[in-house]
Amino acid sequence: MNGNMEYPLYIHTLSRDEAMEWIMDEYGESLKRFIYTYVKNKAQTDDIFQEVLFTVYQKIDTFQGRSSLKNWLYRITANKCKDYLRSPFHRIFIWKEEISGEVTNSTPENTYLLDEQKRTVIEAILKLPIKYREVLILQYYKEFTIQEISDLLKVNPSTIKTRIMRAKEKLKDLLKEDFLNE
């Protein structure tokens, strides 16, 4: 979670513009990374992020604090990404590489911070089909609980657990290694 940023009450005391500014400051980077895990393309991440913001702007009055703000934002974002991926203009084949302004993971700092095995696993996760990729991203990266993922994706918890299990199996196939054993 994002520490002390979970203040839906606070959001409701702000004007719409101020609320949007706050949301962008607090969640901008993490939401864009989340979008990137779906589309793996920076230009499309930028576009979808704008669409997410616009939807949030239009619907923020309807946010009633029944779920956390974070869950609400991620739900909107996941839906926008999947709408995009379902659109007829999305290219069917797998995106392998960015051309410009790419999300680079080859800086010396990152190379130092992230061991090679974990990098390989993350890259393999990003190659999984969306329904498996998103549950692993939500669980391991975004640190949502099974119940939260269930609420967010509107899929029952047992299905989420099954998807996570199958996602790991598919990862094993991809990685051909047995370090996934828990």
Binding site: R33, Y36, A43, E51, I99, V103
Partner: protein, 336 residues
């Protein structure tokens, strides 16, 4: 797997790699149509406000009145007004007959009906295009006046043989007296094409070979120069990169590096920006991956295909054009 954590993903992405103030500026420009000045409130004061407002918020929750009414809060809130006549469940609509025409290079759009709904607005019309030209999609905005944000609209032609179009947008938050529709961009595609040949003997050892910048101009179409910018082996296979460079910035029509489609049989024949790579044996290459951004795209073919080829002829056909329309129509809406 159990060791994988948020920290690892963050390290993978790098620090603040995707979000920037440009995103914020772009968003506020969109919703306010004008550049927005940043608030210059000292952080300390902001914290004080937050604490104060939080206390008010908690009080409101205890009162069961979390959702504010004007005057309940020291800060102004935008109010969403949904007219009573809207039936939320049955999606009642209010139609306005219109007669508006927007012309652009290559065609005309005629709009005949604007339908205002609870969850969506729809505008119906027809598109007339020059022979051989097809509509892929378009975008624009609806201005309902005042300080209300612009509403995005988007349309595409699901049935290329039909000239009917439906333009959809998000519903209005309130019923305006009149609206201004602006069509910004349209993507059209026609019969233009270009081709080039890759000599695989120039790409000998794969993994150790650095990328080459060929900067080879292939053609010039719609005032856009086309360059074969790079051909190389990557870990995934043979990759080439195409760069489009328009003669002038924001010229009315130029080639678009968008909706790139690979050949996958006869079904793909009519697709825009259709790329076919055929080698000296007559085999058609299978695409391993690709990417695109504004003015540039790349395509990667399986290495086995490249290795079994002496040369590869690449054809890009049904080229897609970006047409900058930027034309508006204004009309009054029926209220019932």
């Amino acid at each position: 797997m159990s060791n994988l954590s948020k920290k690892d993903f963050d390290a993978y992405f790098g620090k603040n790699s995707l979000y920037s103030e440009d995103d914020k500026e772009k968003f506020f420009n969109r919703v306010h149509k004008v550049r927005r000045k940043r608030h210059v409130i000292p952080q300390l004061l902001t914290v004080a406000f937050v604490i104060g407002f939080l206390a008010i918020g908690i009080t409101l929750v205890k009162d069961g009145s979390l959702f504010l009414t004007p005057g309940d809060s020291p800060s102004e809130l935008d109010q969403v007004q949904i007219p009573n006549k809207y039936d939320q469940e049955n999606e009642s609509t209010v139609s306005t007959a219109i007669d508006e025409t927007i012309t652009f290079p290559g065609g005309t759009i005629h709009l005949h009906t604007f339908e205002m709904g609870v969850s969506k607005n729809r505008m119906y019309g027809t598109v007339e295009l020059e022979d051989g030209i097809k509509l892929l999609n378009g975008d624009g905005t609806i201005d309902i006046g005042g300080d209300h944000p612009l509403i995005s609209l988007y349309f595409h032609n699901e049935e290329p043989e039909s000239n009917n179009i439906v333009i959809e947008s998000e519903a209005f938050n309130q019923v305006p007296d009149d609206i201004t529709i602006t069509i910004h961009n349209i993507h059209l595609y026609g019969n233009d094409s270009y081709e080039f040949t890759i000599d695989t003997s120039e790409l000998e050892d794969s993994d150790s070979l650095p990328r080459r910048d060929m900067s080879q101009k292939i053609a010039e179409i719609k005032d856009t120069s086309i360059f074969l910018d790079r051909v190389s082996y990557t870990n995934d296979g043979l990759q080439f990169t195409i760069v489009y460079k328009a003669k002038k910035e924001n010229q009315q029509i130029e080639l678009a590096s968008y909706s790139i489609n690979e050949y996958f049989g006869e079904e793909s024949a009519g697709s825009p920006n259709l790329i076919t790579a055929r080698n000296n044996n007559g085999d058609i290459g299978k695409v391993h991956g690709g990417s695109m951004a504004e003015g540039i795209f790349s395509q990667t073919y399986y290495k086995s295909f490249a290795e079994s080829s002496e040369y590869i002829d690449v054809t890009v056909e049904n080229l897609l054009y970006l047409v900058r329309v930027n034309k508006s129509v204004h009309f009054e809406l029926e209220k019932k």
